[in-house]
């Protein structure tokens, strides 16, 4: 930590401060086919400071934040802190307390953190050993392998640090037949490489490319059950997570407070949402959150009924939920069906969207369909085009899921989810 900065913070008349210092060593490789387009390295340090100032009567607490560059002189750093103090004095939010040391987690022992070189080498090995064929292959890919060190301190005495890997790979897959070529896009985030899962997913994607070549324009328009069996489903469950946030509740966007049955009268499954401090190879595994609060396993929604909320310190304090935190990983469960049962009867299984979205405020669901399987009368047609839309308030009334789970980086969710009565707009 920058001692000069800490000294300045301690000697200025703040009513609190937080410093987050992140050092990143990153390696990046960009490939066209399997030829290296460019390579990049990053060696950076970012120090973010938040300064707090109480109102004269103590009823309000203002906060202002900014980055102090590692090249900043003492004069520049002092000028920034004075500016933050002034800005914080303008911000009139109700008072709340910063995280206290007694609440903070003991620093987690750093395990073996692979270097960016090791992570990148693992990614390279996966990409060079995929089951490519003359008709299904890799168009291009981008590898991002980072090693990060994060150190958080606040004026109350919290002092925690961690080191962790953070990776991403973007892959574009081509498939071709009779002069026609299609592409599928994938973007995976994780801690380190996760070679086995990545290889399996990309192998499935190559097979999916074959199906997309056979797809015909989506023929139907109207209400249909829609089955989600890929990462698009994360957006559905993020809606649950956002509704449970104290920020959304305090600002009257959500009413998912303790005791509320959010699936009252619903015909489908009753879902459970919990935080997990660690998920296998998640990029969000951490012992403490961005404000120094310890992260733990806790259930927020149990069988459709809210048990607790989570969120940033400020809003949680206002709601009287003072022992909470901002989780990085979430586990959603509660599905009671098998994947096969969820695919029964007439339904559209949507496996590829251009950009599937669920609005956390309105609950609106929308996405252009790039690949789907339309099951009707015992037959299955491969379809593409058109869109799926609806609203989560309605969707919750009849939403079912598999007991089997699948993990997408920091989300473990049911592997298959089915919602009755979404609007499917055809492409013809």
């Amino acid at each position: 930590m920058n001692e000069m900065l800490l000294e300045l913070l301690r000697t200025h008349a703040t009513d609190g401060w937080e410093v987050t210092d992140v050092e990143t060593e990153g390696w990046e490789f960009y490939f066209i086919g399997h030829k290296l387009d460019q390579s990049r390295t990053r060696s950076t340090r970012h120090t973010t400071v938040c300064v707090y100032k109480k109102s004269e009567d103590g009823a309000c607490l203002g906060k202002a934040g900014g980055e102090i560059a590692p090249t900043a002189t003492r004069g520049e750093a002092e000028e920034m802190i004075q500016k933050l103090l002034f800005q914080a004095s303008l911000v009139k939010n109700p008072y709340y307390e910063l995280v206290q040391p007694a609440e903070a987690a003991a620093p987690a022992p750093d395990g073996e953190i692979p270097s960016p070189a090791e992570i990148a080498a693992d990614f390279l090995a996966v990409m060079r050993n995929l089951p490519e064929t003359e008709t299904e292959d890799i168009n291009s890919y981008e590898i991002f392998a980072n090693n990060k060190k994060r150190h958080f301190m606040n004026s109350e005495g919290v002092d925690v640090s961690s080191s962790y890997p953070s990776s991403m790979i973007e892959v574009v897959v081509n498939a071709r037949k009779d002069g026609e070529e299609i592409e599928l896009y994938r973007n995976y985030t994780s801690g380190s490489c996760g070679a086995k899962e990545l290889a399996e997913s990309l192998s499935r994607t190559l097979a999916m490319g074959r199906d997309r070549l056979l797809a015909r324009p989506t023929p139907v328009s109207g209400k249909l059950p829609v089955v989600f069996s890929t990462d698009a489903a994360v957006a559905l469950y993020r809606y649950f997570i956002s509704r449970l946030s104290t920020g959304m509740i305090y600002q009257q966007i959500s009413d998912w407070t303790a005791g509320k049955d959010v699936m009252e009268g619903a015909l489908g499954d009753r879902f459970t949402v919990r935080s997990a401090r660690d998920l296998p190879n998640s990029s969000a595994n951490a012992a403490f959150d961005g404000e120094g609060a310890p992260i733990r396993d806790e259930t927020f929604l149990k069988d459709g009924v809210v048990r607790a909320n989570f969120g940033p310190r400020q809003f949680s304090w206002y709601l009287g939920q003072r022992d909470t935190f901002l989780p990085g990983n979430f586990v959603v469960s509660g599905g009671t069906k098998s994947a096969a049962e969820l695919r029964e009867g007439t339904c559209l299984e949507a496996v590829e969207f251009s950009d599937f979205q669920v609005d956390p405020v309105t609950g609106d669901i929308a996405g252009e369909l790039r690949l789907g399987y339309l099951r009707e009368n015992g037959a299955c047609r491969i379809v593409s085009g058109g869109s799926v839309s609806g609203n989560m308030r309605e969707a919750l009334k009849e939403m079912r899921a598999s007991g089997e789970a699948r993990q997408y980086d920091c989300y473990s969710i049911p592997a298959v989810t089915r919602i009755e009565g979404l609007t499917v707009t055809g492409a013809v």
Binding site: S39, L90, Q251, Q357, T362, A366, G367, G385, S387, T423
Partner: protein, 476 residues
């Protein structure tokens, strides 16, 4: 007044020039250094915040080096101008380490020529009335709170009226052996976001402002609140649309969204290099009706991404992508231009100094036409006037398009009926959509309050727009 160039960058410029000289054994060496400052304030009924950070604030630099056909980059933000040899050594070491891993993996290289380095010196400082550094933030916060309070009186259904205002003072320095480029400008953006609820239904609307101007822009926010609140009332009373193909009129912001997703991303020529864009096969061919002319470039409008040179030191441009329905050319970053044997168009952009350059949009805009909005509405027997751009997604490989639109106003027998549908998902095949454009209004708007990703990452500022345009589209 003219925006003032960063004193920090002026201070390290000699050290960066020495750094370039120390790397003279490379076939090409450049450095882009940025020192951009700004702030964002958010005010609502329940909370307010101030951050000295926007999407484009940064301080750092990136070296680009080429040797034996391979380009490598080294991004850093702890540069000591008295010790450039340390940074040069670190960049060399990083490159060598990466080459060793690549060699062990047996990876080949996509060989690329040497970027041109003709002498060019520019010191561009653009006009601004105010700057982020000189803003009276106490008055700004007070005025935003007053606007929020007054907005809350406009409807009993309002949960909150939020306002966000942000402004950034950009300074960038680009150096090679022969180039010494400096530019500085201020851009600002603001939005009013009322949230309303009724009978369990929650809606949110917005009205925005943007421009390559200073924080004086924020004075226009008060005039936007009533329209935004009116939209929330319309959304609360809206129905779902019956899926199908309709005659539509896209408002200027939706026209901009179509321009951006259809033939903005569709002709980013780094996608041509990878064989990821159908546009490469359609140069010189018809992709829209005779009415469709589309420009792209930092110089074809003045908005949030209007600059003098891009992040590769290429002069800003104004490209006619589509001329009366015929696809003429795309936009191109410098490395892709080398690979394709064409010229760069000033569209090489980075999210910030830590990110790679890609071909990216700046201002993407349909030309205007000869009709009026009233004539366009009168020409439709059943269709929708679409307003409120929410998001879009490109699909250059297949020319699909997804535009999520906030609301549609029903038109029957040439008149608006007052019925509103929301939200609306517009999808289709780009040439069909552009080919169906049959009327364009005389006026046009340009909007720069959003950001643009490449796939799902690499966020940069862009602006887009056009006139009202009449077309056929599939809505759901």
């Amino acid at each position: 007044m003219k925006a003032e160039f960063s004193s920090y960058l002026n201070g390290i410029a000699p050290g960066l020039a020495r750094l370039i000289a120390l790397l003279d054994d490379f076939d090409y060496a450049s450095v882009l250094a940025a020192d951009s400052v700004g702030f964002a304030v958010r005010v609502g009924q329940k909370n307010m915040s101030v951050e000295n950070r926007t999407m484009t604030t940064e301080r750092g630099a990136v070296l680009r080096l080429a040797k034996d056909g391979l380009y490598t980059e080294y991004a850093f933000n702890r540069f000591d101008p008295e010790k450039p040899e340390e940074t040069a050594a670190a960049a060399r070491k990083a490159r060598e380490g990466q080459l060793a891993v690549l060699a062990a993996a047996g990876a080949g290289i996509y060989e690329t020529g040497i970027l041109p380095d003709e002498p060019w010196t520019i010191d561009a400082a653009f006009d601004t009335e105010e700057t982020p550094e000189g803003t009276d933030q106490a008055s700004l916060l007070a005025s935003l709170k007053q606007i929020s309070d007054e907005g809350m009186t406009l409807s009993e259904n309002l949960v909150d009226v939020r306002l966000a205002a942000q402004t950034t003072h950009i300074s960038k320095l680009f150096l090679t052996k022969n180039r010494n480029l400096r530019q500085t400008y201020v851009y600002s953006e603001a939005v009013v976001l009322p949230i309303a609820s009724k009978d369990g239904k929650m809606v949110m609307a917005y009205e925005s402002l943007s421009g390559r101007v200073g924080p004086e822009l924020f004075r226009g926010l008060s005039g936007k609140v009533a329209a935004a609140v009116k939209t929330t009332e319309e959304l609360l009373g809206s129905d779902s649309i019956e899926p199908g193909e309709y005659d539509i009129i896209a408002s200027p912001d939706i026209a901009g969204l179509i321009a951006h997703e259809a033939f903005g991303h569709g002709v980013e020529m780094d996608m041509f290099v990878k064989g990821r864009a159908l546009g490469a096969d359609y140069i010189g061919k018809r992709v829209g009706s005779d009415l469709v002319t589309m420009h792209e470039g930092a110089l074809c409008a003045t908005n949030v991404t209007t600059y003098a040179f891009d992040d590769e030191g290429t002069p800003a441009g104004d490209v006619v992508e589509i001329d009366r329905g015929i696809l003429k050319t795309g936009i191109c970053d410098a490395l892709s231009a080398l690979r394709l044997g064409t010229v760069p168009t000033g569209n090489g952009k980075r999210e910030n100094f830590e990110h790679k350059v890609y071909t990216r949009m700046t201002n993407t805009i349909f030309d205007s036409g000869e009709s009026t909005l009233e004539e366009m509405i009168a020409s439709i027997s059943f269709g929708y006037l679409l307003e409120g751009s929410q998001s879009g997604m490109e699909d250059p490989k297949h020319w699909g398009i997804q535009c999520i639109v906030e609301r549609g106003y029903e038109i029957r027998d040439g008149k608006l009926t007052g019925k509103v549908v929301a939200p609306v998902v517009m999808t289709g095949y780009v040439p069909d959509l552009l080919g169906s454009i049959s009327m364009l209004s005389r006026d046009r708007g340009v909007f720069g309050s959003g950001g643009c990703g490449k796939g799902y990452k690499e966020w940069v500022k862009v602006a887009d727009g056009g006139p009202y345009l009449k077309a056929k589209a599939r809505l759901g």
